[in-house]
Subunit: 219 residues, 2 copies
DNA sequence: ACCTGAACACCGTTCAAGT
DNA sequence: ACCTGAACACCGTTCAAGT
């Protein structure tokens, strides 16, 4: 008969939801690089092999974590249809920018979770309001989300590790020091190429896509 | 005095160029996952630590390999400026599609090598022919190459590993089986969302971007 | 069915010691 | 300056054995 005064907190039963919740915690605290099977197992006081009952592999785990975070995307943007499309995409990008390594995995294995589908639905609704033809809207949403994700990967990683500054400098000096004989256009557009690193360039990118989608019919 | 009949092929001196050449070989034969410091060292008959004299880290190595391969991009496309832009981008995408894992690394650490700069120069020249304003051309090239790279990552990875078929099926059933009450737009656009998996969709994407760039002035 | 420990087959990077 | 072996601190995944 166990005398159970002052027991250590009972080891909670392993569940898929519990594993994903722990993964989100580790992600927020230490980044995706630490969201490994071994580390999660340690956190859950078990062995890595046990997790494979609930999760197919690391990629599937990361996809589940991503969908969880996509619940934070703000879908209630005010304004006309264009402002709504841009606003949703900016919110989506902002979430991914907080976890650039997750953005990377989103690009590799396209998400299919509830929260992701909700984002897609909201974008389709806004495009419908804008009277964008169905075919263009369907393909366009794909383009918009691909661009938002790629932007997050590109900018996010830059911030994540410290040698991104080195890299910006490498790019900058590569463009600055380009030979005007061999790369005349590039040399004369140096300034423009490197300008507008901030949000202005991101907004311009979304505008380009929206204008293009509106003006380009599907084959 | 060494009697040197029948020597084993002399171990070649370690150079940066030699390391990168070996990396390209391994990449072509077995994919980027095998292009590791340890594996390359083994191939070059030395220890992994020796490579760090010539290469800062794995990321820098992969960037160098990528630029090497970008020498294969076809820049001599015939036709008007739009055809040239699309053609160069399609060739660029095709190269990355052969090595999707390299495309992934291109997105993370933007290339700055000679071959990459040549691609940029060619695109700028074509846009200039099309009388695209300088500011739009400069930012536009970035957008076009980001899209091409992201497309390669997205499609390429699908082919690389076998469980990409599972994934397409997952996406397909997720979209097919979506609840018409909660996701009305998505449900009614099911067919369009999943259509045009081939090259038509990629070409449409480039057209959207070109049209958008032409029609959207920079702030 | 689920859980576990141990094993297999790897990684990147650093460092002291040699040449 | 360059090269090396060994070490540190990790990975994902599988599998036989247990409960």
């Amino acid at each position: 008969m166990p005398t159970s005064r002052r027991e250590r907190p009972a080891k909670p039963a392993l569940t898929r939801a519990g594993i994903i919740a722990t993964a989100v915690e580790v992600l927020r605290a230490e980044g995706l690089e630490k969201v490994t099977m071994r580390r999660l197992a340690q956190e859950l006081d078990t062995g890595a092999a046990s997790l494979y009952v609930y999760v197919r592999n690391t990629a599937e785990l990361h996809a589940a974590v991503l969908d969880e975070l996509l619940g934070e995307v703000d879908l209630t943007v005010a304004g006309d249809w264009r402002a709504r499309v841009t606003g949703i995409l900016e919110s989506y990008t902002a979430v991914l920018l907080r976890y650039p390594s997750l953005a990377r995995s989103a690009l590799v294995s396209w998400p299919t979770g509830e929260h992701f589908l909700t984002v897609v639905e909201s974008l389709l609704a806004a495009l419908d309001d804008g009277l964008v033809p169905a075919g263009q809207a369907a393909w366009g949403v794909d383009l918009l989300l691909l661009h938002a994700t790629a932007t997050a990967v590109e900018h996010g990683t830059r911030r994540e590790s410290l040698d991104r500054d080195d890299e910006w400098e490498a790019l900058s000096t590569a463009v600055q020091g380009v030979s005007p004989e061999r790369f005349p256009h590039l040399a004369s557009l140096r300034t423009e190429m490197l300008s507008g690193a901030g949000g202005g360039r991101m907004t311009w990118g979304f505008d380009v896509l929206i204008n293009g989608i509106v003006h380009t019919s599907v084959p």
